[in-house]
Each structure stands twice: as C-alpha cells, then as structure tokens.
C-alpha cells in the first residue's frame, strides 16, 4: 500500500509496470490516470492547491476503508499539487485483487472519494482569466453508491 502526495510529475507507465504483479493470488489489476484536459484550447495551466497534513490523513482513511471493503493485494495512490500543464498527469490510482470486480470497485470507490473528500482544489488559468473548478452535484451523487 502506498500513498504519495507530491508536486513532481510521475511516470504512469513505470508505475503500472510492476504494480501488484508479484503475488500468486493477483488475477486483476486496475489503474486510473487523471490528466489535465484543455477543452477550450486556451488553458495555460492548472494550479492544484491542497491542505498539507489533512490531505495525507484523508487519503489514508480512504485507502483503509477500501481495504476493509474489498480483499486487495495492493493499492497505490499518487496525487500531485502545484502547477500543471495541459496533458500532464494529475493523479493515479491502482488496485490489485484476485478478481476483476473487486479491483474495479475499489478503484472507482477511491476515485469517487478522492474527487470530493480529499482536500485538493483545482484552478484553471487561461489566457483570458483564472477560475476555480466548481464541484458538481454528480460528485456528491457518486458517493451515494458506496
């Protein structure tokens, strides 16, 4: 189990390469990568603010909850903060389990909770101004599934 909160980029391919594949009882690995989108084509950068201390605690609590709910051989969460360019990796989640359903569900659970319960805030900085990304009702609705 590993959680990293960092400003540095990470290498998604390298993180995926060996994840969860050591044990005899791992049959399924799911990974999720979040990337800075540039829908308008005018994005200069995305700035991600976070709450040092609380961030790590909140993610550790989600990871523990996932371990309680599903039988998981391994979990990896990486989330960046600071200034990111369009196309750069923001964060990733990886889960390893015996069966695909547990691996998928745990990854989606972690994503839904990271989205609206980990203290990160995104600001989109474009040529014509900066705007904080607003949380949506769907973010809260997604949590009701769990």
């Amino acid at each position: 189990m590993s959680v990293r909160v960092q400003s540095e980029p990470f290498d998604f391919g390298a993180e995926c390469a060996g994840f969860g594949q050591g044990g005899k009882n791992v049959g399924a690995v799911v990974t999720f990568l979040g990337v800075v989108r540039d829908d308008s084509g005018t994005l200069n950068r995305m700035e991600i603010e976070h709450y040092p201390g609380m961030t790590e605690k909140a993610i550790a609590a989600m990871v523990n909850e996932a371990r309680n709910r599903w039988s998981l051989a391994d979990i990896l969460v990486i989330h960046r903060h600071g200034s990111l360019k369009p196309g750069e990796p923001i964060m990733m989640v990886a889960t390893a389990a015996r069966h695909r359903v547990a691996a998928f569900e745990a990854a989606e659970f972690l994503m839904d909770y990271l989205k609206s319960r980990a203290p990160f805030w995104k600001k989109e900085v474009a040529a014509d101004g900066a705007e904080w990304v607003a949380a949506t009702d769907n973010d809260e609705i997604a949590l009701k599934r769990w």
């Binding site: 979040g34 991600i48 603010e49 976070h50 709450y51 201390g53 609380m54 605690k57 909140a58 989330h79 923001i90 964060m91 994503m111 990271l114 989205k115 609206s116 319960r117 980990a118 203290p119 990160f120 805030w121 995104k122 600001k123 904080w132 990304v133 607003a134 949380a135 973010d139």
Partner: protein, 82 residues
Amino acid sequence: MIDILYFAWVRERIGLPKERLETDAATVAALVEELKSREDRYAVAFADTSALRVALDQELSDFSASLVGVREVAFFPPMTGG
C-alpha cells in the same frame, strides 16, 4: 489561541492563507459570525456558508460543531481533487 486556515477562493477573498486568533466562540458558526463582523472581506467570503466546508483539526466537520479543544480550523469550498 486557534489557527484558522483558508483555501482556494476563500483564501483569495480573505487575502491570507492562515491566521492565529484569540476567540471565545463556542461553535464554528459563532466563529464565522465573529469573523464576518471584523471586515468586509470576511463578510464576502462567508456570505453563503452552504457553499463552504469546514475541517476541525484536519477532519471534515460542520458549522454547528463545538470548538472546545480544537486547535486548527480550516475553511474551504467543496473539494475538487482527482
């Protein structure tokens, strides 16, 4: 003494990330009222607390919660990680 932290647009509206305060407020809501009465920028930032979240000692809480024993209060908009 209590540490008060502000994040994202709450930080921008109030104009600082952190301050230390002596307060007798018994609840988060009372602390918010005290802050709002200090200056306009607080009144603007806290105009609609339904758009805000609060954490007490780095745990999500709510505005009716007691401040007894609390060392760190943080105000911020809904999170947008992931």
